[in-house]
C-alpha cells in the first residue's frame, strides 16, 4: 500500500475538514456556516477546502455521505438483531426514527441535505439508508411476506415516513413521550404492506 506521505496527510486533512464541517453544519446549519471559521477550526484555510471538495456543496456532500453511512450501519445492526426479516424491516424503521433524534442527523441529512443537494434518491452517496430498506423489501416480497408492491415505492415510503416521523418527534415538546407513539404508528402503517396482516400482528 505504502500510501506516500503526501497522500496520507491529504487524507488526514480531508478527514479533519469533514469533521469540522459536521460540527459547524450541525450547529449553525449549512447556509449559516462560515467556511473561514470552519477551516480555521480544522487548522487549515479555505484553500484546502476548495482544492479537496470543489465548493461548499461538495463539502456538504462528503459530510452527508459519512453520516448516511453511519446511519445505514446502525440500521443494519438493528435489523440483524431481529428474529425475522419482517421484524428486521420494522426495526430498521424504528432505528431511523431514533437516529433522527440526533441533531446532527436531523439538521444535515434531513433538512439541509435535501435542500442543497436535491432529492436523496439521487445523492452521489447512493443513500445507503434507502438502499438498505430497498433490499429488505425486495427480500420480503420474494419470500411472499409482503404484497407484490413496487420495491422502490415501498422503500421510499417506509424510510420517508420514518424519517419524517422523526422530524416531528424531535420538534415536539416532549420527544421521549412522543417517540413510542411515532414508532407504533409506523409499525401499523407498515403492516398495510403485509400480505396476511393477522399472521404478523
Amino acid at each position: 500500500m505504502a500510501a506516500s506521505r503526501r497522500t496520507e496527510t491529504m487524507e488526514a486533512n480531508r478527514a479533519r475538514l469533514v469533521s469540522a464541517a459536521r460540527r459547524a453544519f450541525a450547529a449553525k446549519g449549512f447556509a449559516a456556516a462560515s467556511m473561514d471559521e470552519l477551516t480555521a477550526d480544522a487548522g487549515l484555510t479555505r484553500g484546502a477546502l476548495y482544492h479537496n471538495f470543489g465548493d461548499k456543496t461538495g463539502l456538504l456532500a462528503a459530510v452527508v455521505a459519512e453520516v448516511d453511512a453511519e446511519m445505514a450501519e446502525r440500521a443494519r445492526e438493528a435489523a440483524a438483531a431481529s428474529p425475522s426479516e419482517w421484524e428486521g424491516l420494522l426495526a430498521e424503521g424504528s432505528a431511523y426514527i431514533e437516529m433522527a433524534l440526533d441533531p446532527e442527523v436531523r439538521r444535515i441529512v434531513l433538512l439541509d441535505g435535501p435542500a442543497f443537494l436535491g432529492d436523496p434518491s439521487q445523492w452521489p452517496s447512493q443513500n445507503a439508508c434507502l438502499d438498505l430498506t430497498k433490499q429488505a423489501v425486495a427480500r420480503l416480497i420474494a419470500s411472499n411476506v409482503l404484497k407484490p408492491v413496487d420495491v422502490e415505492a415501498a422503500a421510499r415510503l417506509l424510510s420517508g415516513a420514518a424519517l419524517n416521523a422523526a422530524l416531528w418527534v424531535a420538534a415536539s415538546d416532549d420527544p421521549h413521550a412522543v417517540l413510542p407513539k411515532a414508532v407504533e404508528a409506523f409499525r401499523l402503517m407498515a403492516t398495510g404492506l403485509l400480505k396476511d396482516a393477522k399472521a404478523h400482528s
Copy 2:
C-alpha cells in the same frame, strides 16, 4: 371596512412582493434568490421588503403560508369529492403526491421550508395541510374505521409519507410512469391503520 388608501396600497405591495418571491424562490431556491432582483421584479426596493416582512426568512414564511393554504384547499376539494371519509383520506394523500409534482410546491414547501423555517409542524402558518389530515384521522377514529392510533402521529406519518413519495416521483426519470406506483404504495400503507382491512380493500 373603508380600507384607507394607505393600507390598501400597502397590502397590494405585500401581495406583489410575495408573488415575486414565489417565482424567485421556485426558480432559484431560497438561498440563491436575491432580494434586490426580487423587489425590483415587483417594482419596489428592499426597503419595502424589510418594512413588511422583517427579514428574508419572514418573506419565505409568508410565501410558504400562501402556498400551503392553496394546497390545503385543493386537498379539501379532493376529499369532498370522495364517497366516504376513508376514501377522502386516501384522496387527500393522492392529492398531496400530485401537487408536489409542481416545482413551486416542491422547492418552497418541501425543501426550503423545512430547511430555513424548521419543522413544518411548528410553522407559524399552522401547516394547513397537516391540520386537514389530522382532522380527517380524528373523525375516522371516532367513527371506528381506524384503529385508535395517536392522531398526531398518524397524520404526520400519512402526510409525511405522501409528500416524501412526491419528492421521489418528481426526481425520477419518468414521473408520470412512477406516480401511480407511489399512489398505490401509499394506499396500501394507509390500510395498515384500518381496523378491518378487508372491509375496505
